[in-house]
Amino acid sequence: MSSSAPLTDVTAALELQGITKYFPGVIALQDVSLTVRAGSVHAVCGENGAGKSTLIKIATGAQNADEGVIRIGGEVLDRPNRRQVQARGVRAIFQERQIAPDLSVTENVLLDCLPTRFAKVQWRVAKQSAAERLAALDIDIDINAPVRSLSVAQLQMMEIARAVSFDARVVVMDEPTASLSRHELDPLFAVIDRLRAAGVAILFISHHLEEVFAVADDVTVMRDGMVVGQGPATGFTTASVVQAMFGRPVDTARVHRDVVVDSSKPLLTVTEVCSNRLDHVSISVAAGEIVAVTGGVGAGVSQLAQVAAGGTSPFSGSVQVADSSGVQHKVRGRRHALSLGVAFLPADRKRQGLLLDKSVADNVALGLQAAGTSPVFTPRSVRSAASALVPRANVKAANIDVVVGTLSGGNQQKVMIGRWMGVDSKVLIFDEPTAGIDIASKFEIYAELRRLADAGAAVLICSTDFQEVGQVADRVVVMRSGRIVGEVSGREATEHQLLDLEMSL
């Protein structure tokens, strides 16, 4: 499967050759070579920890390789820094949004190059130039709109417009689809097509294989810091890429089931809830059941999760949780919900989920710390709880004392899930439980959720990933613009059917 372009290829916009990067005790990248041709999309696939992030850092000059050669447009760069790489036309769009929410669209698009004369910003020129950039990529955003009012997809387009000015030669996109819902992908792919047609080379990092096959001309598969498969996209199938990524076939069987659950006695009942994003939403989850709520970005799925977990109080309507004797309790706030046995995993792990400056142990023990009642809580108890929970959540970290902020996104997500494995919860509300997680871990998490449900928990999953809800849920509830627009059983839930429900009026 190894077929790299000849080294003297004039069309090679970015060439990495024999890149090796050491970290103390670990080899992050070993002899990685890849070529991104001008006017083509080169996708890099790999599990968490395969070395994709390090590769991007080296390609963009954020880190330097210990061995190997980087060529940009044929020019060899020796241990380049970010500016040198950028000056040669390599632009990157990172997974984490880099946006100034209080500034205008114009300022955000031209963030690094506002036109000035005598230190005074030339607003007229700036607006025109921002509008031109957006128009060149056929992106429809009002440059006068406040950035806070834009959707996630629009923000991403705005970032692309910032990265891609006319002198871009190589654009690196790190998981560009991670925060987009399905029908928001088409505009992104259209922009990618335009760039490709304009002769820009695109390095596309993703672990959504469907998207990889939708856009890529060439594919490189990585595992454990090495290239394990490389060649034209036409030479791969989804199965062969997965096989290469994991070195083994992955069991992707559905984990939902058809056992009828007694839904007359729900554990979690949301009744006629209204908030600024929810419009009379009612939903109930019985013990042993996994219910998924899905919809596009802006459907209110995340808001529903927040309200159901007691994190936000609704304007009207109520959330009730049944105790073991069947008595219903109205939830008054997050901590009250926790005392009723409601675990909550928020979607925004950096802002709402993790203590980024604290260790894995501290983060995993946070659930126990919140749920427990004993006034004494020693460092020793934190560590022993964490030692047991970390392997169960399958967190890959050198040890439990590693600072959580240094872990990859997938491992951070697993730390948050591990937090609730130590707490005896009756109701689990997981908002985007597998965001940024590789396929193999996803199925481990689905299996864990199923185990929890089988043990008598009520599980509510809020997710914009249609594939996911079809795979894990017993029932799927579809939302649009803050209202419930349909419900199907998990067995019948195909991506197409859900998309139809979500789009139809």
Binding site: G25, I27, R335, Q352, L355, K358, P375, T406, G422
Partner: protein
């Protein structure tokens, strides 16, 4: 959810944990500075390390120390209280006035503590309930308390009739009581912060308030309690300061709030919250006092005092920031021994991305 325990995740080796602990990262350098300054000054004047001067240093610093320990709770929780200095002055004035008016020591202390705890409660409820930034709120409080203290004392020191000996001047086992109060407060605070659920809630709240709230940590209650603790300790410190000179001075210690914050930061805290320890604060306070005393012993003119105080603070935060930067970057050019190289034919299944591991650490966890 019983654990069918597979494997236990490893801890970092003890040596590494020690090296990364606050005690070593922040306390040890301060200790070294204290020892170095002491030895240098003692070389010039051997009275510096005499027991009289050591006791004197601790006595001078006890009021500041008690306030700084209270501030440690707040700063670790991501909060701040600028009003503690004038609150302490107000506490002293109220206490002395009660005695002047013929009240008993006991009820004077109870009254002052109750007032200060209430002030803390009000700050906490306003900050937690209305989400007012504590900086501005307590800045307002600073002026308010200063004015009230001047009004009650009619702008002049209030004599306390040589009372409150047990609070400020009595000796127990050779040490004056303010030193004992400082030591006891520091030890109790250290235990509370390290070994109680409340202490861990404080760090969690300071580290990421929203995440803590959504997990179910009682962040509002935690913040309120921190304000109550800090204000109460400030009031107590004010009484101690009054008892030492047997006078309620409305203008006493206007710099105490900033010095307390400086000591907490010297001890390893960041104003962003989530870090800081009573032990660090204790050592930070002692360093400030040792520097002060050393300046006197070395006959440095007094106008340099503030400059040295500022210089020490700036130096400490710059050194800390450099340390953090190095930690974030990890080792730059490491040497890799051949034994950890996976052979190309059979890659080790658990050779994680360096992002998944700690750059300081070579031992990987296999599951």
């Amino acid at each position: 959810m019983t654990a069918s325990t597979v494997a236990l995740a490893p801890s970092a080796p003890l040596k590494q944990r020690l090296l990364r602990s606050d005690a070593v990262r922040f306390v040890a350098p301060l200790m070294i500075a204290i020892i170095a300054i002491s030895l240098y000054t003692n070389g010039k004047n051997s009275n510096f390390l005499g027991s009289d001067n050591i006791k004197n240093i601790l006595l001078q610093v006890s009021v500041l120390g008690i306030i700084a320990i209270g501030q440690t709770f707040l700063i670790a929780a991501g909060q701040l209280d600028l009003s503690v200095a004038t609150l302490a002055a107000l506490a002293g004035v109220i206490g002395a006035t009660r005695i002047k008016d013929g009240g008993s020591e006991f009820w004077a202390v109870v009254l002052v503590i109750a007032i200060c705890a209430t002030v803390g409660l009000i700050w906490g409820l306003l900050v937690a309930g209305l989400r007012i930034p504590p900086f501005i709120l307590t800045l307002g409080g600073t002026s308010l308390f200063a004015s009230v203290a001047l009004r009650i004392s009619k702008s002049s020191p209030v004599p306390a009739r040589e009372r409150f000996e047990w609070l400020g001047r009595m000796k127990v086992f050779g040490l004056q009581t303010p030193i004992w109060f400082f030591l006891i407060v520091a030890v109790v605070a250290a235990v509370v912060m390290r070994y109680t659920r409340f202490g861990r809630h404080v760090y969690a709240t300071g580290s990421n308030e929203e995440a803590s709230y959504l997990t179910g940590i009682p962040t509002a209650r935690t913040k309120v309690l921190c304000f109550v603790i800090s204000s109460t300790l400030a009031g107590f410190a004010g009484l101690v300061a009054m008892a030492r000179i047997s006078t309620g001075d409305p203008r006493v210690g206007s710099q105490l709030a900033l010095q307390a914050i400086a000591a907490v930061v010297l001890g390893g805290a960041t104003l962003a919250g989530g870090r800081g320890s009573p032990l660090g604060t204790f050592v930070g306070v002692v360093l400030l006092a040792v520097v002060q005393s050393a300046l006197t012993f070395n006959n440095v003119q007094t106008f340099w005092n503030d400059a040295v105080f500022g210089g020490v603070l700036i130096f400490a935060v710059v050194v800390t920031a450099i340390g953090d930067l190095r930690r974030r970057r990890g080792g730059s050019r490491p040497t890799v021994s051949a034994s950890v190289l996976p052979t190309p034919s059979s890659p080790s299944p658990a050779t994680p991305d360096p992002q998944d591991t700690d750059p300081q650490q070579g031992e990987n966890h296999h599951e």
